[in-house]
Symmetry: C2
Subunit: 302 residues, 2 copies
């Protein structure tokens, strides 16, 4: 399973029972929280997200609607007795903000919170299943987007064939990487006799808050699922630019030019009660677009 669950889709001020930005990415058995607006812990309860599987939190920038729920969440995790490590990737100034609040409450978390400051566009985590990288977006303050990708090896083992050719299991990882096997007699057994191509690595890109910025296109090129903010409808393009936000048409243009497969739009301004026009306008440029409705999970398909 690789998917994105929306916990909050509103911009700055909560309105119409919409909540500030927060999303859960599920990848295999791992949960990753992206942004954490006020009330995220309640949304996590409401949508029955398993806190015990949440080991990564990524914070895009330090406008409150993207992180005011963080200290409440990590405090509650402590009160609930969490022991496993938690990895937090966020702009550097957040570390002091957290430490001051824990100190004021005389709180010592019962688990280790690893703070990883975001600085450059880079891979921030990688293992044999998962790769997370960050990239810069253009907003009023330092702001990062995130790309989360599967990181499977290029080949999959053919179980019958490896038994037939008596390949030791210690060599399987080499096979997955495409290497040939040389047996005791010195015979070369070609990799493609023993393996089949793996499915492509699926990917999700989260563009956080951003002005319309074509420099994003290569950063999110060919992603399976793209989240791009649409704070305003197209008629407010000037206001959007002034506030370093985007419109429907702009989000759709980025998705189209980056050749994304699917688009989620969100971060709706509190001035809009109804959201239908957001979808209509976006679809006029990029057909496979969806509203980031709270509680919905978008599964990323092959």
């Amino acid at each position: 399973m690789f998917g994105v669950t929306i916990l909050g889709n509103n911009s700055a001020i909560p309105a119409f029972d919409r909540h500030p930005t927060a999303q859960i990415v599920t990848i295999n058995d791992q949960l990753i929280l992206i942004d954490c607006g006020e009330g995220t812990q309640s949304q996590i309860q409401r949508f029955k997200i398993k806190r015990s599987k949440l080991n990564f939190i990524l914070i895009s920038h330090l406008h409150g609607d993207h992180y005011f729920g963080l200290v409440p969440l990590i405090s509650s995790m402590g009160l609930l007795g969490r022991e496993q490590d938690l990895h937090l990737f966020a702009p550097a100034p957040l570390q002091q903000i957290i430490e001051l609040q824990l100190l004021a409450a005389n709180t010592i978390l019962p688990y280790t919170l690893h703070f990883h400051p975001l600085e450059n566009e880079d891979v921030i985590f990688i293992n044999h299943k998962l790769k997370i990288s960050c990239f810069k977006t253009k907003h009023r303050i330092d702001c990062f987007g995130f790309k989360i990708e599967e990181n499977k090896p290029p080949r999959k083992i053919d179980k019958d064939k490896v038994l037939q050719y008596e390949i030791p299991s210690s060599f399987y990882n080499n096979l997955k990487e495409g290497k040939n096997y040389i047996n005791k007699k010195g015979d070369i057994i070609e990799n493609d006799l023993l393996t089949v191509p793996n499915t492509a690595n699926r990917s999700y890109a989260y563009c956080a808050d951003t002005i319309y910025d074509e420099e994003l296109i290569p950063k999110v090129n060919e992603v399976h699922l793209l989240y791009h903010e649409t704070t305003y409808l197209k008629e407010l393009e000037t206001k959007a630019a002034e506030r370093f936000h985007s419109t429907t048409i702009q989000a759709a243009s980025i998705a189209k030019k980056a050749n994304a497969r699917q688009l989620i739009i969100g971060h709706f301004s509190s001035k809009y009660e109804m959201l239908d026009e957001f979808l209509e306008e976006t679809k006029s440029v990029f057909e496979d677009a969806h509203l980031a409705l709270e509680g919905i999970t978008f599964r990323i398909m092959q």
Copy 2:
């Protein structure tokens, strides 16, 4: 109108759709927010509290469930264009916590936020209608309770009499304080010919988070309405003491010994879904007790 509206009644972790501590005291045309747990701005919206009349915020202590909603609230007030001053009374370390977060967001509030650090038991605000004082409670960290009282003069003008005796209106304030009037001829006109006794000053005391502490009794003596926490039912008296919290019976005992007229109980532990037993146990010691249910307003009567 003098009353208390409950916005949140739960302890540390939100549960059962109950929210962390926050209350609005309405006194004449003035609103005072006491404590501000996560999500308070949404509760303010939900219960249609007029933000424009909210000029005082009192924070009892720096456990997150009593203030995590504060920076979100003051930020939103800025985004909504507030211009009038706001007075915040809170433990001193909160000032740096707020400043760091505003700085990280590059936010300059469009109104003046006056930070008044709480230090000693003292009157923290007084005018001709209203008096606010703070007192210490015993909790795991520095914690303050608050007493909010009407501050009317002891006498009221008898309009017919002041006309009959031709008292200049510039002397009315002296009359309200009980002074006699001496006219041009040198005649003394006794105050009680010109005025009648005012109604008693009503009072509300909020005991924040506290262990059972008989030192509270003189501090809240004879209040019209008393709020005392009941984190636990009576069977968990030992746990309550360990955590510097109180039980139903303990809250009721304080109310009884202080001769309070009415008692509100709240700050219920997340372990309890049903609250009936809280009320039953409390009433067994102090009859005029009420659950701090969210959305309810308790009017303080003469």
